[in-house]
């Protein structure tokens, strides 16, 4: 019997593969048999992921998506794909009355515009096979659960959680599926960079709000692999919440 959960014979693009959820997803996808094209901003970190990929035939490309030609270079370097995971992203933690236009533009560019433009160009250039699966990284804040200081981050993720539905609808004729995962708190570099939140506050938040505790990148990667595989062939336009029960309350 064929295994619907395998990623064998699939080529998958993963952005943000140099760290956190993107890295864990890359490592697991390779273990599940996929051939990967991975990108990251910092070369040494991307190489570290690359050397940890099982199997062969993988490719990597260092790109800073703040550079104007990054998307063109990426799309040109790719041949054919069966899946995309958009894990590159940034966070911000500033109360609403202090938000700045420049910071807002930056977060919208990296979290929303870049993944949309990459996907658009790959589709236009017919580099996505029929039955491909596209997975965006939204967040719990993208589906209505939020916290202090999340204005710009939740605006960008809310946009993702909304646009995947339009894309799923329009792409159904090509049999391309579009979903997002919406993780709660996962301790990665992104959270380390949230300097305005003290380590004590995080401990308290975990204890009070997460029945199963905070998550790991690997736990999110498992759900992403499911959405990439044929096992989820009837799932499209869904925001899959993965949060250790945080949104039960």
């Amino acid at each position: 019997m064929s295994n619907p959960f395998t990623l064998q014979n699939k080529t998958i693009l993963i952005t943000g593969a140099s760290s956190g959820i993107g890295r864990a997803t890359a490592i697991l996808c390779a273990e599940m048999g996929a051939t990967l094209f991975i990108t990251g901003r910092k070369e040494s970190k991307l190489n570290e992921t690359f050397t940890n990929l099982s199997g062969s035939g993988h490719q990597k490309l260092v790109l800073d998506f703040e550079n104007e030609d990054a998307i063109t270079r990426l799309v040109a370097a790719i041949d054919q794909l069966d899946g995309i995971v958009h894990s590159a992203g940034i966070v911000d933690n500033v109360p609403f009355q202090f938000i700045k236009q420049k910071a807002l533009d930056k977060i919208f560019n990296l979290n929303l515009n870049v993944p949309l433009m990459i996907t658009r160009d790959l589709i236009k250039k017919r580099k996505l096979h029929s039955k491909s699966s596209i997975v965006f990284l939204s967040s719990l804040v993208g589906v209505g659960k939020t916290y202090y200081g999340a204005t710009s981050y939740s605006a960008s993720k809310g946009a993702i959680s909304s646009v995947i539905k339009v894309m799923a609808l329009e792409m159904a004729t090509k049999k391309i599926r579009v979903n997002s995962v919406c993780p709660g708190m996962v301790l990665t570099e992104m959270v380390d960079n949230l300097e305005a939140i003290s380590s004590n506050q995080l401990k308290k938040d975990e204890k009070e709000n997460y029945p199963l505790g905070y998550g790991t990148p690997e736990q999110v990667a498992n759900a992403i692999v499911f959405l990439l595989s044929d096992a989820s062939s009837w799932i499209t336009g869904t925001n899959l919440v993965i949060d250790g029960g945080a949104s039960i309350h």
Partner: protein, 75 residues
């Protein structure tokens, strides 16, 4: 960078405190309006007015308004 000005900027972030009631020695956690949101507000104010990035741990390890000012000064 002046302590008196910082205390004023600090006080301005609150809605319900009497003008001039906050001093350098005020224990900020005792202010009724203090919350984790106010900690973010103070961090954002320090960034906007003083171009200094305080962390959540800077606030946590401070007791008085002056303690925060001292952390601001050395950054």
């Amino acid at each position: 960078m002046e302590l008196a000005q910082f205390v004023k900027d600090f006080e301005l972030q609150f809605e319900e405190v009497e003008p001039n009631s906050i001093t350098p020695d005020t224990i900020f956690r005792d202010i009724d309006e203090w919350s984790s949101l106010m900690a973010l507000v103070i961090i954002a104010m320090a960034d906007e007015n003083y171009n200094v990035k305080l962390t959540g741990d800077d606030i946590r390890n401070s007791k008085t308004v002056k303690d925060i000012f001292e952390k601001l000064k050395v950054k």
